[in-house]
């Protein structure tokens, strides 16, 4: 028995040692497993970043080349490990589960492994890899300019010369004021944003901030730098240095080239041109002698320079690969839904009609000769019109219970001024006759100056009495007529024969106005505000003006919308003696820009497929 017990201690110790070793081995293996998982987790994060990089890069190439469908295999990251791959369906057979589908330029749905992809959209499938880790990202994207947020936005110098005003409203139908921002993304040397008065008393007004991406605040000069100490007079909420959004880059050449298959009918050399819907492509320089009216979202594409010696109105888009020149004397209306998107690869020149100066010049010249139609009386009538406009604006700026309704404190004051503007037989400003505007209109000479001013004066027809038709004849009215006028105005079916819309809404009791009535009220207030009393001859443009070059407004231009540049490097251009580089915006002498947020809330739908590619949704990540 003693012999059998020998070695028991050794065996026990060995057994314990083996058990301990197994425990430590297990611990070691467990830690190794944790390390593997941790490393794998790290690799998966890197792989996901690679996949997202693939999406970002693909969005970029799609912006520059909307029809891009070249496979991008095993693309490396700039400085770290990992690769990404985006393969495209080549249009044959059925798209595989790893194949992206580019339907940005498509007009009909395209197939994908997830189902149909809508027009102007793309499905991007990006796979990122690092070591054994693979991550896959699927993204549905859609092309179209992003929402516009600034009334003036440029990549270059922003220069304002003479009196100017920039403000904003939520909507033409609500008239709620909106703080806006002027911004330049330029970071180089020199005065990036500047304002120079022309005359003593000139004022710069910005209902918001003026900001620059420049590295120091002194890149913004609003103190009349060229006239130090003379007449700095500005009203700006703040000047700031900040990083702001750049205007989206839109590949205009590619967008225009894509429409080669839809040639438009030859444009008439004279008279008004009306394009009713559809796509109209033109190769080479084009010129329109009269107005261009775009209806139902018509799109005109010009591969060359484009010149319009009249207005562009309606709802539609114009894309030009060269320079664009337009007179821009459009008639303003109170609708959010009608506006024009003008996109030009080259420079845009807006030659506003200096109606006030022209009229003053005519009046002063002909006042010397009492036998001419325009003389001292015309000059007095012109002063009266301006005075009446100022009165109307002053009263309309008051609370509605002060002037809306027949028994309100300001009713008589308002109706006197409105009556003068609307050729009202019942009301006019004391000391003036009943048909000041129509008498003045009749004295205007034939020719483009007269035509322009007549068109401007016609915009005053909204101030007619409710019981006057388009020719100012008394047609009587009933409460039902007022309801019809307000209803038609909201529906966009209002016309001259119905009677004056301003008087219609003013006649109602302010406390009883419905929601729709208040829309009309806000709209006519806004419209009145735009019809500047001392700039009646100014030119209007309603919508978006975008350029890869520069934008130059020569005189008294009133834009309801936005102007923006996204610079493409190119030579310096000289317009009216002003040197302009790509990205520059120069607004001269009495420019006014009113940003209307509602116009751009959903981007610019006229241009879907022609601009920025934005992510709609991440399908998997």
């Amino acid at each position: 028995m003693g012999q059998e017990r020998r070695g028991v201690a050794l065996a026990s110790v060995l057994l314990m040692a083996i058990i301990l070793m197994m425990m430590v081995m297990a611990l070691y293996k467990s830690v190794g497993g944790q390390l593997f998982l941790s490393k794998n987790r790290h690799d998966e994060i890197v792989a996901l970043n690679c996949a997202e990089t693939g999406v970002a890069r693909t969005l970029t190439v799609m912006e520059l080349s909307p029809a891009w469908s070249t496979d991008m295999d095993d693309q490396t990251m700039p400085t770290t490990r990992g690769t990404w791959t985006v393969d495209f369906w080549d249009g044959t057979g059925t798209p595989g589960p790893d194949e992206s589908v580019n339907n940005i330029s498509g007009l009909t749905p395209a197939p994908s492994h997830l189902g149909p992809i809508p027009p102007n959209s793309a499905l991007i499938i990006s796979t990122g890899k690092l070591g054994g880790a693979t991550r896959r990202v699927e993204v549905l994207v859609r092309a179209g300019p992003s929402s516009v947020e600034y009334p003036v936005l440029g990549d270059g110098d922003l220069r304002f010369h003479g009196r100017f005003k920039v403000d904003g409203i939520e909507s033409l139908n609500t008239n709620n004021p909106l703080n806006v921002e002027i911004h330049s993304t330029k970071t180089g040397p020199g005065n990036i944003i500047s304002w120079d008065p022309i005359h003593p008393g000139d004022k710069a007004y910005v209902q918001g901030k003026v900001t620059s991406s420049g590295s120091s605040g002194d890149r913004i000069l609003f103190d009349g730098n060229n006239h130090p100490g003379s007449f700095a007079n500005y009203d700006v909420m703040a000047f700031e240095q900040k990083f702001g959004k750049a205007a989206p880059y839109i590949d205009i050449q590619t967008a225009v080239d894509a429409q080669m298959g839809s040639p438009g009918s030859p444009l008439p050399t004279a008279g008004k041109v009306v394009l009713n819907g559809g796509v109209h492509y033109y190769h080479g320089d084009q010129q329109i002698a009269g107005d261009l009216v775009l209806q139902n979202g018509a799109k005109i594409f010009v591969d060359g320079n484009f010149k319009v010696n009249g207005s562009i109105t309606g709802k539609g888009a114009v894309m030009v690969t060269g320079n664009t020149d337009l007179l821009g004397d459009a008639t303003l209306d109170g609708s959010n839904s009608e506006y024009v998107s003008l996109l030009s690869k080259g420079n845009v020149t807006l030659r506003g009609f200096d109606g006030t100066a022209a009229l003053d010049a005519i009046a002063s010249l002909e006042a010397a000769d009492p036998n001419t139609p325009l003389g001292a009386e015309a000059s007095e009538q012109w002063d009266a019109i301006q005075h009446a406009m100022k009165e109307v604006q002053t009263v309309m700026a008051m609370d509605g219970d002060q002037w809306v309704g027949d028994a309100t404190p300001q009713q008589a004051r308002f109706d006197q001024a409105r009556g003068l503007l609307g050729n009202d037989d019942h009301w006019t400003l004391p000391g003036y006759g009943n048909h000041v505007v129509s008498d003045f209109r009749a004295k205007l000479p034939p020719g483009p100056t007269g035509d322009f001013l007549r068109q401007r004066l016609d915009s005053l027809n909204i101030y007619r009495r409710v019981g006057q038709d388009g020719n100012f004849n008394d047609i009587g009215w009933t409460p039902a007529d007022i309801t019809n006028i307000l209803h038609a105005y909201n529906n966009g079916t209002y016309n001259d024969s119905m009677g004056g819309v301003v008087d219609a809404v003013q006649t109602k009791d302010f406390g009883s106005l419905s929601v729709d009535d208040k829309k009309v009220l806000d709209s006519v207030i806004q419209l009145t505000d735009q019809l500047d009393y001392d700039r009646l001859g100014t030119a209007f443009f309603k919508g978006m003006i975008y350029s890869n070059g520069s934008i130059y407004a020569s005189n008294e231009v009133n834009i309801v919308g936005t102007v923006m540049t996204s610079a493409v490097p190119g030579p310096t251009t000289t317009i009216d003696g002003i040197d302009l580089n790509p990205g520059d915006i120069y607004l001269n002498n009495n420019t006014r820009i009113t940003f209307v947020k509602d116009m751009f809330t959903n981007g610019t739908p006229n241009l879907a497929g022609a601009g920025v590619v934005g992510i709609i949704s991440w399908l998997s990540k």
């Binding site: 050794l10 301990l20 830690v31 998982l37 970043n49 990992g82 900040k242 990083f243």
Partner: protein, 139 residues
Amino acid sequence: MAQQIGRRRGLNLIEVMIAFALVATAFVGLASMFVAGMRLQQRSQEVSVASEVGRAFLEQCRALDFYQIPGGTRHFDGNIPTPPIGAFPPAPYPTTTVGTQLCRLVVDVSPSGARLRTLKVQVQYGSSGHITLESQIHP
């Protein structure tokens, strides 16, 4: 019987000595493995935490307005720390503590095109450990 008992005692001493020698040898090996295992576990935890910090940072960057990310080539060193420009770099730059682990972020941003920025974040921890994540961002 007495002789047998005396022989057994001597043998037991040798057995115990051999056993001690074996156990000591085994413990030396096992202890080193144990220490290495603990170190690996620590490293695993640090890498995991740093990866999450880096991932969360890049997500924060993606949540920013694209144009709040500086356009030029910039270096933001959480060790110094270089002050942010506006809202960039977002939290948790320059440092964050997860549990007891202090992480410092070093962020590089550079343009990769007019509308593409390359972001690189190095998350440093301990005396010399770090992980690096990189991604490109489009508005």
